[in-house]
Every structure is written in C-alpha cells, then in structure tokens.
Symmetry: none
Subunit: 445 residues, 2 copies
C-alpha cells in the first residue's frame, strides 16, 4: 500500500514553521507498513491545493492531509479535497452539535464561521471527531478506491486524532509491519564504508541506508514483513554480517550516541575519565556530560586554553611547549598525563590542535593531536581535518568524535592493550624516542 | 519569479530526519522576493525523482534541490535532474581535481565512487564547489529557461553553499536588491518579544521575522528596493526603533552570536574570563572558544563535575556544599570566586544546576544557579527551565545562554556596576546575609 503526505499552509511555504507533522506521520506510516514515496507542501490556494491532491490520489492509496481545517476563509483543505474527488460539501447536523458542545464545554462563544467546520460530503466520507479542538477530520473515498484523510495542522491535535482515530482506521487496511535497527560506525568515512559493503547498500530486503554526521555513520537496517518476528530475524542477520565486516569500527547497535557508548563502557568497567582540552575548548567534556549519569565516571574536564594554564594545572614543562609547540604530540601526551594525575582518574585524554581560521605556530588549520593515557601507557593520534579552512566547528567536532572513538577503542580492547593497527584512524603507542612522531600520518575521519 | 524546493532522500520519507533545509530555504527565497508555491520530498528513486523535477521545472522558474549528491549509488539527484532536463553527465576533470585535493589534504584515501561526484553536464551547467565537503553543487538550465539548483543535504554544507554561492547567483536574477539586518535579542521569550512589537511583526516593508533559539531571538529586518541605499535606510530606521523598545536586551545588530558579542566586549575592555561549570559540563567554555581569537581573553574553563573537584580546584569549603547543597546560590557564588582566583582572571563565572533526567538533592530538574564574580562583587541568578523534565540539553543550553547574557550585561554596564533590575532575567548582587536568596525567583528564558 502506498501512502503520501500533503501539508497545506502558506506558513510552511514562508518558512515560518517547520513541517514536523510530516516527520511524525512518516514514521507512523512506515511502522504501519505503508510505502511512502512523496511528501508535498502547498499554500492556502484552492486551485493549487486541488491539483496537488488530484495527483496524489492518482498515485497513492492513502493521502494524509494536515492543516487547512480551520474556520477562516483561507482554510480550504476540505473544499479542495472534495473538489479533487468530485464530492459536494453540505452541513452535517451531528457534527455541528459536536462543535457546539465543544464550545459550551470550554465556555467560549461559537462564532458563525465555525459552522464551516461542520461541512462534509454526505457520501463516501467518514468523519473523525476532534476531541482536542474545533476542527473535525475525515476520510474521503475517491472513485478509484484511494482515500484522502484530513487532519488538523496543529501538531497536538493532529497527533491525538491520528493516535485515537486514524491509526486504528489504517491498521485495518495494512498487512505488513516494518522493523529497523541502527548500526553506529566510527572511524570510516561514508564512501569508504559503503565501498566495503556494496551488496548490502544495494540489497532490497533488508535495506541498508547510511546517515552521516561528522566522523560517524549510522547504518539503518530496515525490513518489512507480515510479522515483526520475521522482519527482526532478517535485520538481525544483516546486522551481524555488518558487524563481522566492520569489526571494531562498529560502536554499537541501536545506541543513542558515541558518547553514550563510552559512558556505558566506563560504567561497566568502573573506570573514571578526565579530559584536558585546548582546541576543542570543552566540546569533549560537554559531549560526555550530555549523557545522563556521566557523573558516575567523569569528575573533571579542563579547558587549558593558554600555555600558562597547561603549565599550572597540567604541570607541563614549559620547555616541552617551547621546543615542540603547543600543537604537538608531545604536548598532547603531557596534557593527557597531567589531567590523569590531577584528577586521579584511570584514563586521561588530551587534545591540542589548530581550529583556525588563523594558523598558530605555522601549523595548518585542521591539524590536531589527541592523546590517551592510562596509569601505564600513552597513545597519541594525529588528525588532519580537511575542508576546515573556513570551518572552525568542523575541526572541533571532528577532534571530539575522534577522541571519543579513541576512548571507545581503548575500552573495547581492555584488559588488553590497544594495539597499533594500521587500518582506519587508530592511535599508536607513544614512544618519546620516536623523534619523527609528529610526522606520522594517522588517518582521521 | 516562482521558486520551489525539492528535498531528495528516503530518510525524510521514513521520518528519520526533519526537513529543516526547506524552512531555511523558504525564508531565504522569500527574502529574495521569490514566490513559493510548492515544496516536495521524494525518495532516492531515479524515476520518481525525475518526474517530480520535471513537474517542478514546468511550473517554477527556480527549483532548489537538497540532498542526493553523495558518492553512493542511492545518491542520484544529479542523474535525475539531468534526465529531467535532457542533459548527459560526464566527468568534469577540474571538479575531479578539486575532490582529489580535498582528500589529499586530509591524507584520506579517495575511494573510486567519489569520482561519481565529479560527473556534470558539459553544457547548460554551472558547478558550485563545495568548500566544506566532497559533494559539489550545480545549476542546470532547462530548455524553457527554468533552472535547477542542486545542493548537498547536510544542513551545514547546504547553508554554506547557499550563502557563499547560490544566493549571490540568485540575486543577479532579481531586479530588486534585498537588504537585511539581524537584531539579536536575549532575555525575552518569543511571545513576550513579539507582543512588545506587534506593528513591526505585521509590517510589510521592512518585514520583521523572528528566528528563535533557546533563550535567544533574532529579529531579521528585511527591505526590498530598486537600490540598496534606500532599502538600507528603511532597515536602519526600523532597527533603531527596535533598539529603543528592547533596550539592553538587544545584544547587537548583525552579530554572529551572543558568544561572539561577549568575546568582542572582553577584547575591547581587555578583560580575561574564566569559567567553572557543573551541569553545563563545558558547554559555556565550548561556546566561548567557538569564537575565533577567544584565546586573547579566555585562559581557563573547568568542568568540576564532582564535589571533590569543586573542593580541590575551586577551594570550596565542603561545609558550604554540605549545608546548602551542590545546587545552590552559595555553591555557584563560590565556584565563580574560586575560578576567578585560580585562573587569576578579571571575571569568573560559576554554573550549577539540575540537568536531569534524575533529580539531585530533591531539587527540581531545570533549577540552575549562575554566578558572576569580579574582584569586588558577586552576582547570582536563579533559573527555572520549564518543560525540561525530559530534556537535559534544554536545561544545559538555557543555562549556557543565560550565563553568556549575564556576562554581556555585566560588561555592558562597565565601568558601572550591573544593577539589580526587575525586568527580564537579570542577575542580582549576592549578599551572603540574604538567607532567602535561593528563594528569589529571577526569570530565565
């Protein structure tokens, strides 16, 4: 069964409001097993609205319309739908009583133009009472069997009417359910990732679609079937295969975020984290504390923005900064060690880099060093964020995500040491004698 | 001139994301003087996308398409647009070089499917380089003179390409010039704000449209005219009137952000800021360091998430926390004083509150205390973030914005002391003897 959504309202075309109704209904219809091919928005214009509805009725079994059921002259969804379906509107006495009662209950005086809201076709039409407003909805049935479902535009009224009346009405018609799982992947860019799993990206059932955020890709695995158990089975199989292919780059399945994964790992392993940030300026600390309950595993995050503070709080020898620079693997490593000691934590992370737009120490914008220290060892990675010249935020976000992923990998390998792998952006153990350290090109995403 | 917007992406049809791009572009196109009659969303399906584009090209002069420019097989916007316009795609060497360079810079390996992103028609096509990603955009010109403009779907990349390349391109086509000024307002909610300036919200020229973010409203004043001077004149007049009405709640005109205003003020007055955060977990520090050059005025930000760290770094007497609680005006005040001293700054800010979802110390989610200390005095404000029960981020963002606004107001009043006003969310001087301090209800936004 094909469904589509039409929002009617000039306020959407002017950008005064976002069409959140479309997202809500899309999810609901997908869950009901409807195939959704189109969404449209049209203004409060009779002719254009009528034509959009006509097109929709010709290509979809169910057409959901939100908005334009109000009492004012520019509310014309019912009129346009009736016209598109060759139906006439006339006053529905029962419906009028319901509206009059609604006004009585709320102690408000009903104005004459509210009578407009009681106009409905007296054939091929099912009326849905609005328990939360004055505008009733309805289903108008077209000659070809397609149905046009009209709902209020106010999200609260629309959702209530959908939940209480439209959804049960639609459930009777469908025969499929849809099941989805989300696989969160870090450390591989979208194109590289999809090139690793082409047969899954092309697969029709389950479908696998990638959604990208800086440094992260979510693979949404979706399957449709008669019963949920079968759909879930197919998804689980695919998810497991993806996990085998992508290995440690998979952060989790149906997890909220990379930071939530890290916080959960820390809780399970009863380890405490502390962070020392320069270029990210608190972004890592903010990400970790965005997870409820982070206080169990995170005591202290420092934004040591000046060299003086790096020396005072983290006890970094000024000679190190003088000889290697504030943006250097050596400084990152000593930030990680310094914060580990100050906060008496189990894991310390240090981040230093050039966020731009200006270069510092003649080092390029986008160059970032991230170090992770535990009580025995230290690892460091070099990151080059590209296309960053005009995008300070991108450098900072990328550095933050890579730091979180570094912590995740460290915790995933425990009780073993995080190895020095040469695949995707992995940190490498820090050896002071490695003078060419800062030349190491370790790929970041 | 008629314009319409098409978003291409199955993730929108499944309701995985909201189509915020459509809202952004609607506002921008309205400001450019385009009439907008339709918006559509179609999935990653070649045939359906092609047909939607064909319809759009027949009824609109400008068709803006977002999404589907990625390297994966299901990214097919260019292919569909070319088909709809009867154009062929072939490899554009110059464009390929740009993409290869983008990868070179990052030391990342370009996978073969990225070549797809360099495919463009070699006639009736203008390519827009993507400075923030791998997917270039373009304008394809139809036989009937209509134009299809393709942009990335990632909002950040889309907005940058629109601002830097598409908008100037479109401006050339209109006979009018559009002039806009943005007035940033803090400390008043949208409904209260609009109720203060109804005649401006209704005005047709200049138009005044409010854009809201947590705790902030940007009033966009726009005027269209044959010459820019006249349009600017009209905007300036309105902006000055708005400034008179809204007084000190106006943070600035055409400023980048509240944090950029604060950093500029600090630079001008040559003052250094340090922050101590609990519930915001580094969000304030992150906001300040998001401003280029913040290092001139910001040396240190601390996320003291545990009571131990509040004691160790900020030297807060454990008795204060024990008797008043970690979430109390007393703790906030001592955090501000403590960080001021530790970082030897001119201004210290302390934030402590209940971000939720769980309550702490039997205090309600959304209760936040923000303190500001200079070398002589301390101010504190109480914030009740409402509707925050399930929204940890909302509490943290609201606290951060209110802290920034408190710093801004403090700096605006200098060399005078920030008064204890009773209008919108103003801090009040902290007097230890005021035992009922924590009962003071100072409205936050």
């Amino acid at each position: 069964m094909k469904a589509e959504i039409i929002a009617i309202g000039t306020e959407l075309l002017l950008g005064n409001i976002v069409n959140t109704n479309a997202q809500y209904l899309s999810k609901e219809l997908a869950a009901l097993g409807y195939d959704m091919y189109y969404q449209s928005v049209v203004g409060d214009n009779f002719e254009r609205a009528t034509n959009v509805i006509k097109d929709a009725v010709n290509r979809s079994d169910i057409v959901l319309i939100t908005g334009g059921l109000g009492p004012t002259p520019d509310d014309l969804s019912k009129e346009a739908a009736a016209k598109a379906l060759g139906l006439d509107l006339c006053l529905n006495e029962e419906c009028l009583k319901q509206i009059e009662n609604y006004f009585k209950k709320s102690g408000r005086k009903m104005s004459d133009n509210n009578r407009k809201q009681a106009l409905f076709p007296n054939e091929r039409c099912i009326i849905f009472e609005n328990l939360n407003g004055t505008a009733p909805g309805c289903a108008m049935i077209a000659q070809n069997g397609s149905e046009v479902l009209l709902m209020p535009g106010v999200p609260r009224e629309m959702k209530m009417m959908f939940e209480q009346q439209i959804k049960p009405y639609l459930l009777k018609k469908t025969d499929k359910t849809i099941y989805s799982e989300n696989v969160l992947v870090a450390g591989i860019g979208e194109s590289m990732l999809t090139s690793l799993i082409p047969e899954y990206i092309d697969s029709a059932d389950p479908t696998v679609s990638p959604y990208c955020k800086t440094g992260l890709v979510t693979l949404r695995v979706t399957s449709a079937d008669k019963d949920e158990a079968t759909a879930k089975q197919k998804c689980d199989k695919t998810v497991n295969e993806l996990k085998n292919i992508l290995g440690k780059n998979v952060c989790g399945v149906n997890v909220k975020s990379l930071e939530s994964v890290v916080v959960e790992q820390l809780k399970t392993k009863k380890l405490h984290l502390a962070t020392a940030e320069s270029c990210t300026g608190g972004m890592l600390s903010k990400a970790i504390t965005s997870v409820p309950g982070a206080s169990e595993v995170f005591d202290f995050g420092a934004t040591t923005y000046s060299n003086e503070m790096k020396q005072k709080l983290l006890l970094i020898d000024r000679k190190i900064i003088a000889s290697h620079g504030a943006v250097s693997p050596e400084t990152a490593v000593n930030m990680a060690k310094g914060i580990l000691n100050y906060a008496n934590a189990d894991i310390g992370v240090g981040i230093t880099g050039v966020a731009g737009p200006g270069c510092s120490e003649n080092k390029p914008v986008g160059l970032v060093y991230i170090a992770l220290a535990d009580k025995e060892s230290v690892w460091v990675m070099k990151l080059n964020v590209t296309g960053a010249t005009n995008d300070r935020d991108k450098v900072r976000e990328s550095a933050t995500v890579n730091a979180l992923n570094m912590i995740r990998r460290y915790l995933t390998y425990l009780p073993n040491k995080m190895p020095n792998e040469t695949d995707f952006n992995n940190p490498i153990p820090y050896k002071p004698e490695e003078t060419a350290l800062s030349e190491l090109a370790i790929k970041g995403v």
